[in-house]
């Protein structure tokens, strides 16, 4: 059984470490915030100028001056800091963020990623994604393994306009955990009930498979 979106988020949360500063993109990545292990100190950065994102506000308590990068109303936690966009991206570009999680349309086995533009269909702009993928120390892509038409999003080359090159370190899809190595995609884990053959069949690039591939633990 392929993972649900929340299960993908749950699996990614296992990558967190105490003391991490993390930027979570819009969509599945945002859900990761719900699965930060109890007692682990993880600070969430929002590129519009907040370090220390809190939960969504209670009904009636939303403040229009306090939003996240997805333009949703949020709150802030004790120990938070607010700052302008140039300092926010100084933080990102300067490598001070430990982990970036974002979605993708396509990921290549060279670590390239397409996530911002479908020519002729969707041209909303790259927002902060290009800055994030160009600079974060560790980039994990959260995605479904195939698109709505059943085509693999994991390929030898991205066909859509690129967000960044040679930057993705790991992919957590609904079917598998895959590391992007210098030799290409390396299969690390499979979703419960999903076979290695299923993953191979749904991946449009060679997979390095060493020994038994364990099931993910959620």
């Amino acid at each position: 059984m392929a993972l649900s979106k929340t299960e993908i988020a749950q699996r990614i949360a296992q990558e967190l470490q105490d003391g991490y500063y993390v930027n979570l993109g819009i969509g599945i990545p945002t859900l990761v915030a719900n699965y930060i292990p109890q007692g682990m100190d993880v600070v969430l950065q929002s590129e519009n100028g907040l370090l220390g994102i809190g939960p969504f506000p209670k009904k009636g308590e939303a403040d229009p001056d306090l939003i996240n990068a997805g333009k949703q109303t949020v709150t802030y936690l004790p120990g938070s800091a607010f700052f302008d966009s140039s300092l926010s991206f100084a933080m990102i570009r300067g490598g001070h963020i430990d982990l970036t999680v974002l979605g993708a349309f396509e990921v290549s086995d060279k670590g390239d990623i397409s996530s911002w533009k479908i020519p002729g269909k969707m041209v909303k702009g790259m927002g902060g994604a290009m800055d994030l993928v160009a600079a974060a120390k560790n980039i994990i892509v959260a995605t479904t393994h195939v698109d709505r038409h059943g085509k693999s999003k994991l390929k030898t080359q991205c066909d859509l306009p690129l967000t960044g090159v040679n930057c993705v370190k790991k992919i957590v899809s609904d079917m598998a955990v895959i590391e992007v190595t210098k030799q290409g995609f390396k299969l690390m884990e499979r979703a419960p009930g999903v076979s290695v053959e299923d993953i191979i069949a749904n991946t449009d690039a060679p997979l390095i498979i060493e020994g038994d591939i364990p099931e993910m633990k959620l």
């Binding site: 519009n48 907040l50 570009r93 041209v123 160009a134 040679n166």
Partner: protein, 230 residues
Amino acid sequence: MNKVVKNAAEAIADIQDHQTLMLGGFGLCGIPENCINALVDQETTGLTCISNNAGVDDFGLGLLLKKHQIKKMISSYVGENKEFERQMLSGELEVELNPQGTLAERIRAGGAGIPAFFVPAGYGTEVAEGKEVRVFDGKPHILERALKADFSIIKAWKGDKAGNLIFRYTANNFNQPMGMAGKITIAEVDELVEVGELDPNQIHLPGVFVQRIFQGENYEKRIEFETTQD
């Protein structure tokens, strides 16, 4: 030094057709509502607008788009706006998309007298097209140019009559760097106070950068996506 003007209409009265404006805000958060409305009333056209986003159809910069006052947008994310998309696809509107951090830094650089700088963002993508590439510490970077504007129009929380500004929460965003990069910077504020009322240790944007300031009124502060726990 009299920086205080009466209202938005007076603040923007000398903005001419075909000038370049920076407008602060992220989404609808921290946008200079009063000045945008005054620009609509003044019907200034042919504008180049530097702004992270382009508002929504019936609020923020969307209002200027609807009246075809904008010739070109320099932004990072322009979703959430159907009229924008229509004008862009039809070729009525010129659009230059920048990575958000590159946009913020180009603006700061414009204010800081740094004409160009290297960044890693956009290397290998269409953003790098036509730009110089250079490798530093084994990593390729592209050369980006500074941005300046005839007028920077920003929104702050508190400001004093000398132009010193303090921002609130995430309503700072692009307002602070844009405030540095305008030949003339216009600040509208929630609360205009006397000189000496703000703590000099806590000024986000010193008054030297601000040429005009006024107390704004009737802020709608529309929320784009109200999201709550319940």
